[in-house]
Each structure stands twice: as C-alpha cells, then as structure tokens.
Symmetry: C2
Subunit: 275 residues, 2 copies
Amino acid sequence: MTEINNTSLPIGVFDSGVGGLTVLKAIREELPQENLVYLGDTARLPYGTKSPASIERYAIQATARLQEQGIKLLVVACNTASAVALDALRRQMEPVPVIGVVEPGAMAAVAARPGGAHLVLATEATVRLGAYREAILARDADAQVREQSCEMLVALAEEGWVVGVIATAIVRRYLDEAREDSFVPDSIILGCTHFPLLRATIVAVAGEGVAVVDSAGTTAAVVRQVLDANAILNDTEKPGRVQLLATDGVTRFARVGGFFLGRSLTADDIELVDL
Amino acid sequence: MTEINNTSLPIGVFDSGVGGLTVLKAIREELPQENLVYLGDTARLPYGTKSPASIERYAIQATARLQEQGIKLLVVACNTASAVALDALRRQMEPVPVIGVVEPGAMAAVAARPGGAHLVLATEATVRLGAYREAILARDADAQVREQSCEMLVALAEEGWVVGVIATAIVRRYLDEAREDSFVPDSIILGCTHFPLLRATIVAVAGEGVAVVDSAGTTAAVVRQVLDANAILNDTEKPGRVQLLATDGVTRFARVGGFFLGRSLTADDIELVDL
C-alpha cells in the first residue's frame, strides 16, 4: 500500500502498440502535472486478431514490467486488452487501481445518445467478446448495439493514410456493411485506439446527426476521478515527465507514434525493454 | 543424417502466418506425393514490421518445433524471415537443407526481364534489409532495383479485399510512389507471400509489358531440385499428407488461410501448437 500512496509515482499506460498514445495524450491534457509511463508491446502487436488466451498472457507479461517499475494507477489503453484481460490485470495489479477503455467508451456513447443505436468499430477480438455491447446495455437497456470489426482501419492509421479517397472508400465500405438490415446508427464508437486518427474521415462519411465518440477523453476524466477518490493526485505545479517504452522496433514506434501523439518523435525518445 | 535420408519425412514449410500457404500450394502442385507440414507463427505475426533481432528469435523458436517433429527439408515461406534469418536457420537446421523465398523470387525476376528495372513490393523489414536488391544484383549486374514497402497490401489480403475499387486505389498509390524520379519498372516482384492474392489487381494497375512475378512457383521448382540433388524425393505414387499447425487463433487461420489455399478450411483442419 505504500507504493500507491506515493503521489509522485507515474500513471502507467499500457497498449499493444502505439494506438494508446491517443489516450496518453488525453491524460496529459487533463492532468499535465502527472508523471506518465507508456508501454507499447510492439513485439507482439497486434492483439486484435489473436486468441483471448494469448492476449491475456501478453498483457500480464507487459504490465508486470510497469508494476516492477512502480506505478500508482494502470490505464489499459488497448480496447482489445480491456475487453479480454481487465479482470486478470486487476487481480495482478492489486492494490493498484486499473482502468480500461471499454467502460469509458460505453459511458461516452450512452451520454451522447441515450436510448440510441450504437455502432462499435473495433478489432476482431473486441467484437468477438461483445464487451461494448455488454457495457452499453448495462447502462442503457433501451440502447441498440451493433459491432463491426474493421482491421483495415488499423492498417490505414499505421500507414498514416487517414484522409483522402482511399480512407474514405474503406470507411464507407465498413459503414455500409454495418448498415445492412436497416440498422441506422446515431452514434459511432471508435472502439480501437487507432481509430481517433481517422475521426475526420469517419465523421464525413457518417454524415450529420451521428455522434462519433472515442474513449480517450472520457478515460482521462475517469483517471482524474479515480486518482482523486484514492487521494493520489500529484499535488505539484511542475509539469510531469513522460517516459515511453516499447518491446520492439523503436524506430517504427517513433515514426508511427508521432502520428498518434501529434508531435514528432525520434528513436531516442523511446526506451527498448525486453520482456 | 538418418533423418534426412528418410524420404517419407515431410517437407516443413514455415511462415509468420497464413501467407506462406501460397508457397505450400505451389509445392503441393509441383510435388503431390510429398508429405507437407506447415507452421504459421500466428501468435507473433506480422514479422514484417518487427526488428531483425525479434524476427530471428521468433523464426528459430518456431522452426525448432518442425525440427523436433522431423522434416527432411525446410522452406522458409516468409519473405521477411528469409531476408532476415536464413543464415541463422541454416545453422540451426543443419544437416537439413533450408530454402528461402527471396532467392527464388530474384531468380524468377531476372529470368523474366534480364537487365530489367525491378520493383520489389515487400514488407518494411524486407525493404530495410535490401535482400532482394542484393539477390538480383548478384545475378544481373545490369539490373535496376527499387524496393517499396506496402503494409496496406498485407491488410487487404487478410481482409480478402483483393479486387475492386479499394484494392485498385491502394495498389495504384504504391505504384505511383515507386515510379517517382522516372523509375519505370518492367518487372514487379511480389516480395511478400500475401501479395499473390492481389496479383490480378497488380497486373491490371501495372499495365501491359510489366512482368508480375512471385516466389511460389520458382520456390517449388527449387524444392524439387534440392530434394533430387539430395536423393530424398518421396518415391511413391500415393498423394502426400498435409498437416497444418498454427501458434494461435486457429479459427482465424482457417478463415484467412482458406483465401490463400484457394479452398475452404475449418478450425478442425488446424492444430494449435504452443511454443
């Protein structure tokens, strides 16, 4: 318990790769005084097409590295790992609080469109587990939920092709598939941390009246609430430090991660860790 | 040495995922009497965006599984692993002969267009190592080589979107990038085992007069030659057995693998192995 009472300990942010940097960025904006350590498990990415057993094993191995270093809170910034492994990670990290991104994403969608028809864009693994469906229906029994797996959107975000005719055609194809059987969404949930990069294209294709929500902002707000509730907010005026760790390919991490963080990174900004 | 003299032992075919099934299929057509065992390291795919050290380690772990089971020849059906880890795999497998796909691909391109301008479409890791450039120039000092990394083509093939406006637009974008500085290819090498699925689209975008070559057919021919040279061709009339192994996600392996093999697979056709 001593450890989690040390308010200057960093918040750990874990993702299968670089996508979770969108969540890191939102936490940084919400809580600029907090120290942050981000771990991208780039050696084993993507998680979204793997089996639940492998995803859980990888997530536990990776977050053990953050646990050793000492963190006061863990954010599981990967939708797939949040959907598959949150309970296992909570048992492992106890007494450190653990926040996933599925619940905040569901909260944001229900708040935006009460009783609405929600379309969840996510990875295969997240869709297979129906984690968003469960989280939304637990909050809003009148909601309708459709989940659509969209692996090509991950590739688009990683390639940096986030606007233009190709991105538009791919988004349109997935939305058309999801709209079969007269399902008309009034909210679209970006259920993978890669997808906020494609927000402008998704908004344009979805058209007016559709709320496009992601987990990042709501997750940052939940982080603040949990830190506050546990009396472990970092009580300082100084801007916090940000440490970036990856399990493989720091050069690629820097290049692709720059898109997500919205500023350029070099390989020297990333520390390679071996699991 | 006893083992490799057992002609009924299977040929091992190793890939990071399902793409190498295009090579398995070509070997099956060339040598229908041979027993084949295919291992897709789906738990750690894709290799193409990872570091050379990780790729080598993964390839050695995965092929050790085939070595234990007993094989008379190893085909490294993954371009990335062939580019990065072929020497290490040869040391590990000795005295079992090991064939990669880069050399056969280079042979096919040089044969198709002597003194030609070759465009290699491949993964990031294969491009970074310049393996095709080296293999082509060693055979044909007059050749010109340009290498282009095309991660989106991997995603297209896995999603099964191999023809149509989206596939065409993506292929056109990569070919336009490659043609900058007035480089005019007269051969295109499909330097990733995923890309033969996109052959029709690539041929259509490339236009007349461009030879589109892949490794699969030439690799199968080289396999025959090496078996023959070592006097380990399976001397029987019976059709050989095919065994499919994967390190994760047999359901996805079956679904995506079916595209590559050109026939439908079910999860029961795939054996899950733990490395």
